[in-house]
């Protein structure tokens, strides 16, 4: 058994040009990613940087031009490697003629789950993604956020150890986006490895513990999130109900310490998203 949930080594993917003499387009150029079980890994990068191509290669939907991809030690090009994977593609459209429950039954049966076990699993997943009320409604009538959540549920139907999410909140409103993020955190707590790609940086920052930055097909930075975003020569102190006198004293102390300077002082700000959630849900964080 491999010690890595995901093991991508020196992945190269070229897309040949249909025109003679025109060089093939290299979408991914020597990317290596290793994700340990239980980690939440975020692959970030601008549109067209090779995120989706990397994921598709990992799922065997694309054959690597060079390099290799493995899931829990199994070659991605083999069907067996998909036993332990759940995948949610970007902007998925499932069979509109099926209801939410039928969709999950369909994917469950494909994974050889049947009978009572399947029915229990379907109900559990519909509860998990908060779609129990819409279980008998056809997917044609689902909103974008509901489709993403049913997509997440189908990805989880066979209780995979690895979840691959391609832009899981693309086109979803902030409320739906928050629900999906909460779900990812819940799954992380259950020990499921999550590999997600997104260009929504704040979202990645909230859920991932490892991050890779891909640009023009190359991995330009990779590591633990808290290490990558830490500004090494700066410290942060957040005060609540601090009086002007206290702030003045702190400023004075800093001023008297050689080699130290005050970078910024002022009221803490919330994010626009938190404000939105607070106003629309009466909650937020």
């Amino acid at each position: 058994m491999s010690e890595f949930a995901v093991d991508i080594r020196d992945l190269v993917k070229d897309f040949p040009s249909p025109l003679r003499g025109v060089k093939a387009f290299r979408a991914v150029d020597g990317v290596s990613i290793r994700i340990r079980p239980g980690e939440v890994y975020g692959l970030i990068g601008p549109n067209g940087s090779g995120k989706s191509t990397t994921m598709k290669a990992l799922l065997g939907l694309l054959a690597p031009t060079a390099g290799s991809c493995a899931i829990f030690g199994k070659d991605s090009m083999k069907v067996d490697s998909r036993n332990d994977v759940g995948f949610l593609p970007e902007n998925p459209y499932f069979y509109k003629h099926l209801t939410g429950a039928e969709t999950l039954r369909f994917y469950g049966r494909l994974c050889n789950i049947r009978g009572k076990v399947l029915e229990t699993r379907v109900s559990e997943l519909l509860d998990l993604v908060d779609l129990a009320n819409a279980r008998d409604r056809r997917l044609g009538g689902y909103s974008k956020g509901m489709l993403q959540r049913i997509g997440l549920a189908q990805a989880l139907v066979q209780e995979p150890r690895l979840l691959i999410l391609d832009e899981p909140t693309a086109g979803v409103d902030p409320l739906g986006s928050r629900q999906i993020r909460d779900l990812i955190l819940k799954l992380r707590d259950r020990g499921i490895t999550v590999f997600l790609c997104s260009h929504l940086l704040e979202q990645v920052q909230e859920v991932c513990d490892h991050v890779g930055i891909i640009f023009q097909g190359r991995m330009v930075k990779e590591g633990r999130l808290d290490e990558l975003i830490a500004v090494e020569d700066q410290q942060e102190i957040v005060l609540k109900n601090a009086s002007p006198e206290l702030i003045a004293r702190i400023q004075h102390m800093v001023g008297r310490t050689p080699g130290t300077s005050l970078v910024r002082i002022g009221p803490s700000r919330t994010t626009l998203e938190r404000l939105f959630l607070q106003e629309t849900q009466g909650g937020g964080e």
Binding site: G60, R82, N83, G86, F87, L88, L98, C111, Q158
Partner: protein
């Protein structure tokens, strides 16, 4: 937790899941509305009068042939058009909607997906044909009884001999509901299976439903005339006798099935017997082409990137 079985190819349960999903998908696309059209056409055919060229004694059998001709013709048209369009539509639609990604991201071998899709389309055609066959059989049985009674009364009134009456009874009976006619319906299904499989092959490397449909119809036309064309070529040129030309003709007939062989339906409509041997050979030939086209589809599809 899902049972971790080996993901061997062509697992019947998994193929059945995909086939039933395709079947449901097509049913919910309301394709069965066509069956109402069929019922209407079959009923309407009852109200047509035939010109009496062959004398009044032939009118009854002519009516029965007309009914069979209409019904089988509509069955053939429906099954061919449906086999091509449904097969051509389903695969590109799954790719376009990215539903295919979610299916292939599960432990589903690509051959299972292809076979499941084709089986779903064929299941729907089979169910539709059974329904249409049921309506045709019912109408034909009622009509045959009516024709039998009318014609026998006519013959008796003309003072026909017992032998002539028996012959008339046999002739009318042969135009009624027979096993040969059921064999003809089976031939319609077998032909649609071959056409559907050829359409599946095209859809694995084409990205357009329109292209797949048009080329599939062209292949069907080529298959319908290839035997005549080959015969004409052999008869009018010396080339037919050379080994290269002979090989080329054989290759052509291997790639394009000879759809004229499926015209046993015409024999059944004429009221002549279609032997078990003929139907068996047709079933074997159809199976060969369905397997051949499916294997070729798989070869193309297994390396396809999404």
């Amino acid at each position: 937790m899902a049972e971790r079985t080996s993901n061997r190819w062509l697992q019947p349960r998994r193929v059945a899941v995909l086939a039933m999903n395709t079947f449901t998908q097509l049913v919910r696309m309301k394709v069965f509305y066509f069956l109402m059209v069929f019922a209407f056409i079959a009923l309407a055919s009852q109200f047509f009068d035939l010109p009496q060229y062959n004398g009044p004694e032939a009118v009854g059998t002519g009516e029965l042939q007309l009914l069979k001709g209409w019904c089988i013709g509509v069955m053939k048209l429906y099954s061919i058009v449906f086999a091509i369009t449904a097969t051509a539509l389903l695969l590109p639609k799954d790719v376009e909607d990215r539903t295919l990604y979610t299916i292939l991201a599960k432990p589903v071998p690509r051959i299972d997906y292809l076979v499941g899709k084709l089986a779903g389309v064929l299941l729907l055609i089979l169910v539709s044909l059974l329904f249409m066959d049921g309506i045709m059989s019912l109408l034909l049985e009622v009509r045959t009884r009516h024709v039998m009674a009318t014609q026998m009364e006519f013959a008796v009134s003309r003072g026909w001999s017992q032998e002539a009456l028996e012959s008339l009874r046999r002739d009318i009976g042969a135009q009624g509901l027979t096993w040969s006619l059921q064999g003809g319906v089976l031939a319609v299904f077998l032909q649609s299976a071959v056409v559907g499989a050829s359409s599946l092959l095209l859809s694995t490397f084409s990205t357009s439903t329109l292209f797949t449909s048009v080329v599939s119809f062209l292949i069907y036309l080529v298959g319908s005339f290839q035997a005549d064309a080959a015969e004409f070529y052999r008869a009018t040129t010396e080339a037919g006798t050379t080994s290269f030309a002979s090989l080329a003709l054989k290759l052509l007939s291997l790639v394009f099935p000879n759809y004229q062989l499926f015209n046993v339906t015409d024999v059944a409509i004429q009221g002549q017997a279609v032997g078990f041997h003929a139907i068996g050979s047709l079933a074997g030939l159809s199976l060969f082409y369905v397997v051949l086209y499916t294997l070729l589809s798989w070869i193309v599809f297994s390396d396809k990137e999404f």
